[in-house]
């Protein structure tokens, strides 16, 4: 499938959110006004340390939390200019799916395929189509042989793939992953990241991956860094990782290979190039620099 980056899918203008205490008084704001455009088919990583507001940002996008200020437009539909009806909220949540951190706390049914069916069942998808959607979603995440299993007997990565299948069975345009790999072992993370990449590349689904892992951010087309409720950086992984000091000042580390290039440059080695986000890119930059020195 050709990837089209023309249509803007999510548009936010000074989007802000504050938690309220029990008396309805506003506590310190979690998000202080974020303006960003996300295009259809983009793979965006949202970075930030704990408490930076990145998860709050994600929860605003499908109205699990209601923005206190600012404008939010999803798929050409303004969600902040009027009181939304229940149908409008449901339509939004069908378009923008979400996968959470803890795989155990988002599976509802006791059989894998019934859990995957949960979303489309809620949407009232009628029978032959429901079956097709469920089977296709399970196949997409490679869990066909586990369709009749009980979720609690699966590994963390497998459970998370079931959760993803549950979202794609609703045929969303965009999926938000809210630290979906944080509780997984390296193998499970790999499984989930491969699935995310495949959904973006092959199905054209817009992906927002909320994470604090730098190596996951490196896989995205674009990285947004949120700090203290504000947008700090926005660019390709290469551009963001070039600003090591700025990242460090907000408690984030660049990937190890980028760190190596930065340190060498600081010690006076001339290394040309910007491909900081991949190991291969850094390797090539170092290689050509060494070649130059050796002559």
């Amino acid at each position: 499938m050709d990837r089209q980056l023309s249509e803007i899918f999510i548009h936010t203008e000074n989007l802000a959110f504050s938690y309220k205490d029990e008396e309805g008084k506003i506590e310190s704001p979690a998000l202080r006004g974020i303006s960003v455009d996300i295009r259809e088919g983009e793979y965006v990583a949202v970075l930030g340390h704990n408490g930076s507001g990145k998860s709050t940002f994600a929860k605003l996008l499908n109205l699990i939390l209601e923005p206190t200020e600012g404008r939010l437009v999803v798929d050409g539909f303004d969600l902040t200019d009027h009181e939304l009806t229940d149908e409008e909220v449901l339509a939004l949540r069908r378009k923008v799916g979400m996968v959470f951190q803890n795989p155990d706390n988002q599976l509802v049914a006791t059989i894998v395929e019934e859990d995957v069916a949960f979303g489309p069942e809620n949407l009232g998808v009628p029978m032959p189509e429901l079956r097709e959607r469920v089977d296709r979603a399970i196949e997409t995440v490679g869990m066909t042989e586990y369709a009749q299993h009980e979720p609690h007997r699966l590994s963390g990565g497998q459970k998370q793939r079931v959760a993803i299948a549950g979202v794609i069975a609703m045929l969303p345009k965009c999926i938000i992953f809210d630290e979906s790999t944080a509780m997984l072992d390296p193998g499970g993370r790999r499984e989930v990241l491969d699935t995310i990449r495949m959904l973006n590349r092959e199905q054209g689904i817009t992906v927002l991956n909320i994470t604090h892992y730098m190596d996951e951010a490196a896989l995205a087309d674009r990285v947004i860094v949120i700090n203290d409720g504000e947008l700090l950086m926005d660019g390709t992984p290469d551009e963001v990782f070039a600003q090591r000091d700025k990242l460090q000042s907000v408690g984030l580390e660049v990937p190890q290979c980028a760190e190596l290039v930065h340190s060498l440059r600081e010690s006076g080695f001339a290394i040309e190039g910007e491909a900081l986000s991949t190991v291969e890119g850094c390797e090539e930059m170092l290689f050509s620099a060494i070649e130059k020195i050796v002559g």
Partner: protein
Amino acid sequence: MKGVSFGQYYPSDSILHKLDPRTKVIMAVFYIVCTFVCKSAAGFLALTLSALALVFISRIPLRTILRSIRPLLFIIAFTSLMNIFFTQGERRLTPESWVISIYVEGLWSALFMTLRIMILIVGTSLFLTYTTTPIALTDALENLLGPLKKIRVPVHDFAMMMTIALRFIPTLSDETEKIMNAQKARGSDLSSGSLLKKAKALVPILIPLFVSAINRAFELAAAMECRCYHGGEGRTRLKVLRYRTRDWVAMLTILVFFAGIFALRYVPWLYIMG
């Protein structure tokens, strides 16, 4: 506690397992009524034979089933003794001079009560717990109680709560074990001391368990909202329950059986309960 099996479901592919869960609920109800309607020796003979036939059809080992009766042996023994010693009748067995009076009628009613309790347990567990998964049972009850929705009984909500409870039993039992190990690692002693001391030792396990269960509930609620859950209205189902020929045959059989047991009330063979 991995692989903990809740309930007593015994996987097999017998005809009893394959029946629609609603059929089994209906049959269980009729079967229970049968045991209470039954008053004659002929009737109890028929009931006992039918229970044995059910065991045979279900292909569940008799030993497994008898094990489920064991916890109730005390109650069975108690009711039997009460019946033997306190039933008044006409044919006294013990000499008039004895204080203890035992009548033939007492022996019969003790036998009938024992059979009644045992058949009640075996029958219901064969129709329900042994051959039907808890989740299928929940679906069946939601479906059968569906008409109550018209008088605003939240049938769907109860069924959903039941489903979620069943889904989280293994998760929470794993968690309990983790917390217990964590507390043991800090030197808490769970297995010795008086009953009161043991009960007190449970507090540091129950509190973290409740906190975590409540947190899980919040997260699950958000996840369900994200997947467009908005109650039972307009929901379709992947697995739709459907009555097949075998279900109609089974229901007809239980009806005929019920009529038979009713008729046997009046067959004067050996004994009819007063």
